[in-house]
């Protein structure tokens, strides 16, 4: 096992651990907005680390190109998708956890309407 393989193994392990953290967060956190926070950020970083690990090991140029495409797509679509779900869930109403201390969007929307 050479240095590159050790580095790749470490990256794949770390990425999978982040994916596990995302799963734990989705179960444990109180409302849909907090769960979205857990579902997008650690999972995207985990996917990035796994892809870098697979690219470092012994991939050809076309493999690295595909892995780069996966990472770019995930980094472009994850924030947009989470934004759309969050916006739709907020406007559906009643999904905020009772322990929420700050709701700036509500104040901003009321200020615009009145």
């Amino acid at each position: 096992m050479n240095a590159g393989q050790v580095l790749a193994s470490a990256l794949v392990l770390l990425g999978s651990a982040l994916a596990l953290v995302a799963g734990i967060g989705v179960v444990r956190l109180p409302d849909v907005f907090a769960r979205m926070h857990a579902a997008t950020k650690p999972a995207t970083l985990g996917l990035l680390l796994v892809c870098i690990g697979a690219a470092v090991s012994d991939a050809g140029l076309s493999d690295v190109a595909k892995l780069t495409l996966v990472v770019v797509l995930q980094f472009l679509t994850a924030p947009v998708g989470a934004h759309m779900v969050g916006r739709a869930a907020y406007h559906a109403g009643g999904l905020l956890d009772p322990g929420t201390v700050l709701d700036e969007l509500s104040a901003a929307e009321q200020g615009r309407e009145t």
Binding site: M1, Q5, A8, S9, V12, L13, G15, S16, A17, A19, L20, V21, A22, G23, I24, V26, V27, V32, R35, M36, A39, T40, A43, T44, G46, L47, V50, C51, G53, A54, S57, D58, A59, G60, S62, D63, K66, L67, L69, V70, L73, Q74, T77, A78, V80, G81, A82, M84, V85, R87, A88, A89, H91, A92, G93, L95
Partner: protein
């Protein structure tokens, strides 16, 4: 190397199992969409780990397809929630 990928796959499976718990429990449609999106991301991670384990490039095309389809599904259901409520 095989031990590393086995541990990685076990961790990914545990994460997917927890996500499935949230998918079943809900309680709202938005929670289920978030859980489904996370499941697809975990599937992409798993395909990456398998590509690393076997050294085959066949898995990489599947990763690209799943990354695109996950976004399509999420945005479609988000539009649906916007119109009909969670």
């Amino acid at each position: 190397m095989n031990a590393v990928t086995t541990i990685s796959l076990v961790m990914l499976s545990a994460g997917a199992l927890l996500t499935t718990v949230r998918l079943v429990l809900g309680p709202s449609l938005a929670d289920r969409v978030v859980a489904t999106d996370l499941l697809l991301t975990l599937l992409t991670c798993g395909a990456g780990v398998l590509a690393f384990r076997t050294g085959q490039g066949t898995y990489l095309g599947a990763m690209v397809v799943v990354a695109i389809l996950g976004f399509l599904g999420t945005s479609m259901v988000a539009r649906f929630i916007e119109r009909r409520g969670a």
